[in-house]
Subunit: 432 residues, 2 copies
């Protein structure tokens, strides 16, 4: 690597949508990459599962291999880009590459959320980069701004729309009045949702990303098990309508915040005020809203998935890794991640939206309001929708502790006039 | 600098709003900065004009000096942060610092737009960083994402709301129906506009930022003289109303694009479709919308000015400069800036909004439409507003060459039934 014009040789793990887009960009934008890193970059080997499959990639056929060691263990590979997804065999291959002194760039949110700290330690021991900008919010520059641009600022809270599938579904429910089921079916038809949509609609995907965001924003060891998670399968057309009537839109948010030295991370459907910048993030777009002490409010918006956007993010990291490799600088650091107390969901606070199906008769509101009051939950607004058997009361509370709201609801379930406790959604207030 | 725990000693040039915010952050967030850079950072000297002025900064009084050389030439200063603004004496001081081997971080858009390439060459010769993230869009991470995150992507166009003062004025005109004069007076009362508002309202400030954005996005040598510039003083309440009626909002945009190998850069009031993400950027917020080949659409949104946001951006750069200094890596590069052909405004294309005051009688539209047709300008929609002496015709054209629109208007001025050619605004189309 002494001669700055010797090409840096890259090995890819995986060659689906993202890998093909990456290979195409490395070819077409070779001039740009060379100008920005100082050296030519060449893809010389690609790990694939099926060697017989035809691929729309301009690489000689002997570049493809079904043997992972031929990529991560080979002397002629300088840098590895992982795009296989899933924990294994990606973890073993990345570990082997790092131990062999090869920087690794990855888009693997599941692996990084679960084993990021372990892999970062291996990378640090080997003195090489492990970069994973593409693992959260696809093409949106997020981790680099959090880590570098805001290096001297204290981040208070991050709110993210980080799953395009659920944002598409909620947008359709909001804008054309689709049911959840119809919107999901449409997303599946468009290829925006998997045949088994669980990881998206139950919030697992967003929870992995929330863990990574919290780790970087607060320098904390946060794993998926630290993230409270609720999906959008319980969000009804009624909730969407009530939200609109009250001046809100429902979004699945990843929330990471620091309160009194504790880190709280959660994923749940949330009522967002219509004038909040996140409210206008439509369709399958992603956006991350950052509240920093000095910088104030920042929002980063773009495509969270797809071959092109993900490849663009991988390529930004690849250029960084190549510059560090060639320039002899030490690997990029995200600072040390330390154990931080994690605040349980019961101890977090927010305003709440609550929908109760009730008997439509005098005295009911007084009985219900009494229960709120006893648990210290203060009501900001109440509205009755429907009458008779269809009567529902919709409450927005002031900021309240989650545990207090839960106790209130537990008691309300035993109030005779309350037929059913319906939706419970957290609300993002202004300038909290 | 051998011992990684020896503090890095920083000198500030200027100590107004931004300098005070920076000094406060360096003190309060010392732990964060040390974790992220590996070394403690200390502010040891500050150049000020008036030594007798009291400042809300926790620095010993002998840190202040009125002698620039005591900062940029001193052996005990490792890094310099410039926040004086204006070309001189900032340019001479920065040059001296760079030549003495000190990395420089600056928020000075005017200087960087005018003399950036010269200063970058001096920095490259000295092998040190010259970083200027804070010079464009305040606290919004923009130049680092353009340079690093999108290192392998080809940027097609950048659209920026990069001047908070004019965005505030246009927001008030749109939302409460203020006249330009009333909105400007309000902005001045709030401290958002200078007593002499020329630099903001005539677009000079935005033009400096547009030049910097184009330079970084396209690796091109672009100076303020290459930027076509129109301010917002000619935007009338009538235009704002017509825009709303047609589904648009008027924004002062900095536009930098690459077309057939040429770079075009301009600043002008623009009609933005209401559903475009830039349309919802209100008040004094800034936002930059990036169209990349692979990444698709990205938007970065936040505070473009103010002590906290600007200091946050300076601190991100400072942390970067310190890491490079201590880690022994070479200075950050933005790649080489090269001479690129600049496309003249006459040769750029966009849809246009045109307002003509006309005689309200049969045959007038035919005469006008004839002129459009002769110059190859195709009309997308036409609407008459007002009747009799108050009759105005509002046209939206299809995409047209600027020169052809100008020729059309020149001819229309001689059509007897056209009393006056009123506003001419460029329109941002969808997915151009």
């Amino acid at each position: 690597m002494g001669d700055s014009r010797t090409p840096v040789q890259v090995g890819l793990l995986g060659c689906g949508n993202v890998g093909s887009a990456l290979a195409r960009l490395v070819g077409e934008n070779a001039d740009l990459l060379t100008a920005r890193t100082g050296v030519p970059i060449e893809i010389v080997r690609v790990l694939v599962r099926d060697l017989s499959k035809r691929r729309d990639v301009k690489l000689s056929s002997d570049a493809f291999t079904a043997d992972g060691a031929a990529v991560v263990g080979a002397d002629d590979i300088d840098v590895v880009v992982e795009m296989m997804g899933g924990v294994e065999p990606a973890k073993s291959l990345i570990t082997e590459a790092l131990r062999a002194g090869k920087p690794v760039v990855t888009a693997n949110k599941e692996l990084i959320a679960q084993d990021g700290p372990e892999l970062l330690a291996i990378a640090a021991d080997a003195g090489v980069d492990l970069l994973f900008e593409a693992s959260v919010a696809g093409g949106i520059p997020l981790l680099r701004p959090l880590r570098e641009s805001l290096a001297g600022d204290r981040i208070r809270r991050v709110l993210g729309i980080v799953n395009g599938t659920t944002n598409y579904i909620l947008t359709r429910m909001t804008e054309v009045g689709s049911s959840f089921e119809a919107a999901l079916a449409e997303a599946q038809r468009l290829g925006l949702a998997e045949p088994d949509p669980t990881a998206d609609v139950e919030g697992y995907d967003a929870a992995s990303k929330a863990a990574i965001i919290a780790s970087i924003a607060f320098g904390a060891l946060v794993g998926p098990e630290d993230v409270y998670r609720e999906g959008i399968t319980g969000v009804t057309s009624d909730d969407i309508e009530s939200a609109a009537a009250l001046g809100y839109v429902v979004k699945l948010l990843a929330v990471a915040e620091e309160r009194e030295g504790e880190v709280a991370v959660r994923v749940h459907p949330t009522m967002v005020p219509l004038h909040h910048p996140l409210a206008s993030v439509r369709e399958s777009f992603n956006a991350v809203f950052i509240e920093g002490e000095a910088v104030g409010e920042l929002m980063l918006y773009g495509r969270g998935a797809g071959g092109g956007p993900t490849a663009s993010a991988l390529l930004g990291d690849l250029a960084d890794a190549v510059k560090n490799l060639v320039g002899g600088g030490k690997g990029a650091t995200i600072g040390e991640l330390v154990e931080r107390p994690i605040r349980a969901i019961e101890d977090t606070e927010s305003p709440f939206y609550l929908l109760l199906e009730v008997a439509d008769r005098p005295g009911v509101l007084a009985a219900i309001a009494g229960e709120f009051g006893e648990h210290g939950v203060s009501i900001k607004s109440m509205e009755q929708r429907g009458i008779g058997d269809d009567a529902r009361l919709i409450f927005i509370t002031h900021r309240a502790r989650e545990a207090d709201v839960r106790s209130t609801l537990e008691r309300l379930r035993h109030v005779e006039a309350v037929h059913r406790v319906g939706s419970v959604l957290r609300v993002i207030g202004d300038g909290e």
